[in-house]
Amino acid sequence: MRVTLVSLPWQTLHWPSSAVSVLDTVFTGVGWEVTQFYGNLLFAEQLLDSASSSGSTGLTPDDYHAICDSGYPHGVGEWIFTSALYHPHWRVEAVREFLAGRGYEHLDAALRLHEMAPSFVDICAERILETEPDLVGLTSTFEQNVPCLAVAAALKRLRPGLRIVMGGANCDGPMGAAIHRNFPQIDLVVRGEGEQPVRELAEALTGQGSLAGVTGLCWRDEHAVCRENPYAATITPGHRIPAATMRPFFDAINASPVRPWVNGLSLRLETSRGCWWGEKRHCTFCGLNGGTMAFRSKPPERAFEEITTAVREFGLLDVMLSDNILDPVYIDTLFPRLTALDWDLRIFYEVKSNLKPADMAALAAAGVTMVQPGIESLSSRVLSIMDKGATGPAQVRSLRLFREHGIEPRWNYLCGFPGEDWERDYTPILRQMPALVHLPPPNGISRIYVDRFAPLFEDRSLGFDGPLRAASWYPLIYDLPSVELNELAYAFEHEQRGIDDRGEARLGAAVETWRRDHAASRLSVAAVESSVVIRDRRVGFEPRDHILDGVAASLYLTLTRHLSIPGLVAAADAARLAVSAGQIERLLREWFDAGLVFEDGGAWVAIAVPA
């Protein structure tokens, strides 16, 4: 049996599709012949062709990157392919107005890509059929639904009897059932993690079982009636998570004329699934793990082997890990081994923000240069509302430690949580933001959506207690009634909660100022004999050296940890420092006024970075 696994726009061109490369290993393991088909690369190649043809569209692979990077919050990538799924110029005026209203900067490219999509889909379907598949597998995450549906429809037009299965994060839970119910070109939908259902499906399709026995599968019976097997999240244990088969992607990209447009080609690996923090306390806005929150990781030895084998095989030193959160076990196991190699790796991981200084040093030494630490906010109360398990001062401490260890944290300032208040939760933070200018700034701000599977979606008592509707781009894209859209959608909107638009704009402006002035700002601390010298060279502050002696010096260094005043008093007592609570409060106020400490919720932390 032959299966062709298809990755379509808007999968990035910078690394292989995790789903395709992992399921290749699964299908191969049960004896199927597998072809990986990179339709996303084919689309970029078409853009390149069109740029050099006489009737040039003016589009290049850079436009592909631009839509990948910017489209998701507005549904742009999905709408582009509606010209192939429905008909050209699908709701074009409404979309133009919608995107213009949001100030979307790639509107013109989106309109031209929309015109190109039908011919691409036809060519893509023809090329897929050239692989002579018995089964075509389509994977959909973020903005890949409409491209998948359009290509599936084209495949059915060309070969009605071809069996097509769709899966991926967009098919988890009720979303997969809605896709199956509303789009007859999709014969089968796999929901949840694919390993077990795909093995069962492979058996069923070779007569060793029935479709009714495939875990969570949506399928049609002989009367074309939709059947939905009971949904049960299947959890692949860490040691059984398959290794990715990445060779087909790298062969394709390296042979492609688009290759010069792809800087920063990376390996795409996973060393774990699920979230150990989410198992304890689920961040209220996070819907990433669907029904599979349970944390599992590959044994460190295997993680090491997979990373090093891939680096050797593909000659790439950039490694993007898809893990939702770093397994702390790796800090003492995987990372020292990577460090000992003395390779110049650049690794990305998502991490919990409460890493210790020694943990950060271990990451940096191994080549972890970029992380996503889930900072989210600097307000303890807002962090508490979102059940983040961190305080504002703890997050600031993390930013300081990342700066100290040369690791770039990627983060967005989130707002729009039910119960947050401008005066209480944002005014004090914005007042202190200028002092934080030397620390890594947010990439921007985001008003939260209510994502399916997130506690805010599941538990209306958390504040989104009115009607939820599929995010505003869904009705522009799909020709479906709202009841079906609400089943198919991942992102939802609700009557605005939290700060108002004016507050959001003020927060955005403050963050932009932070981003603008960051590179030119320094605030360092050094101990000189029994004193502490804090050298202030921040934009917006008078250049100045603050000299702290004796007790003040010790107290400032103690605040490298975030502490409340009682905590600081206790620490001073333990160190037999002759200082009263009143004196401590006066010092803190003085440092606060000079922008040398951050305070929120009664806890304080030093913000100067060790020189």
């Binding site: 110049d344 650049r346 040369g406 502490v532 905590g567």
Partner: protein, 238 residues
């Protein structure tokens, strides 16, 4: 009261500057205008710099700038960078006689992001190979390499963006493990290059290919590997 709740004294990573002061005093001229003046200048010979063992003591938060007469070895630059020295200055003019030494120092300084000051005039045929080590705002340039298993990834942004893989065993056999040692050119070739010509034609084998690719430069009978190592961290190993 648990230990971790105790107030910390100014210790690691805030090491005692007295150690730095003492060591600096042992080996070179030491200038520190006042107690709270963070800028400290240590002037000494390369051999003494290594004895200074700053990487063990750290700089104690002081803004230590090291001045030394001649270009220094890559290992010394690594040593200073790990000690978080704020800058290195070559005090005597850089001239033709120390070009290969200057490349070694400059590449290591770029690799460890250690600010390097120097003065002098590089020969014209060298200058055109050294833009990436003498950056100026009007002409940003990057020519670096990253160590991988059996390969060196070379990133060349001197003109556009080019990425290539070079066999690590080949280049280390020529330029040493750190790719910072000049490779001797032999016989006629050396003589030819000694006249300041760097036409790759007379060369054969790997060195010629590297020169042809703009990754190495021939000068006075020696070939120099041009890219500096792109370390993810300035405190990286090796």
């Amino acid at each position: 009261m648990t230990a971790d709740r105790r107030a910390v004294a100014p210790t690691a990573p805030y090491t005692d500057p007295a150690a730095v002061v003492w060591l600096a005093g042992q080996f070179g001229e030491f200038e520190r205008p006042s107690r709270f003046e963070l800028a400290v200048t240590v002037q000494c010979r390369q051999i003494d710099l290594f004895c200074l063992r700053l990487s063990e003591s750290g700089c104690a938060g002081l803004d230590v700038r090291v001045r030394t007469p001649r270009p220094v070895a890559a290992t010394t630059v690594a040593h200073l960078a790990r000690a978080r020295v704020a800058g290195l200055e070559i005090t005597e003019p850089v001239e033709e006689s120390c070009v290969t030494g200057w490349f070694e120092t400059a590449k290591a300084a770029a690799s460890f992001r250690l600010p390097l000051q120097w003065h002098g005039t590089l020969p014209a045929e060298v200058r055109r190979h050294a833009w990436h080590l003498t950056p100026n705002p009007g002409r940003p340039a990057l020519l670096g390499w990253r160590r991988g298993p059996g390969f060196a990834e070379v990133v060349d942004q001197r003109s556009g963006h080019r990425r290539s893989l070079v066999d690590l065993a080949t280049v280390t056999s020529l330029f040493g493990e750190g790719l910072d040692i000049p490779a001797p050119l032999s016989g006629d070739t050396a003589e030819l290059f000694g006249e300041g010509l760097d036409t790759p034609a007379p060369l054969s084998g790997d060195t010629a290919e590297l020169i042809d690719a703009g990754l190495a430069m021939a000068f006075r009978g020696e070939a120099v590997w041009l890219p500096y190592r792109l370390r993810a961290s300035s405190s990286g190993a090796a």
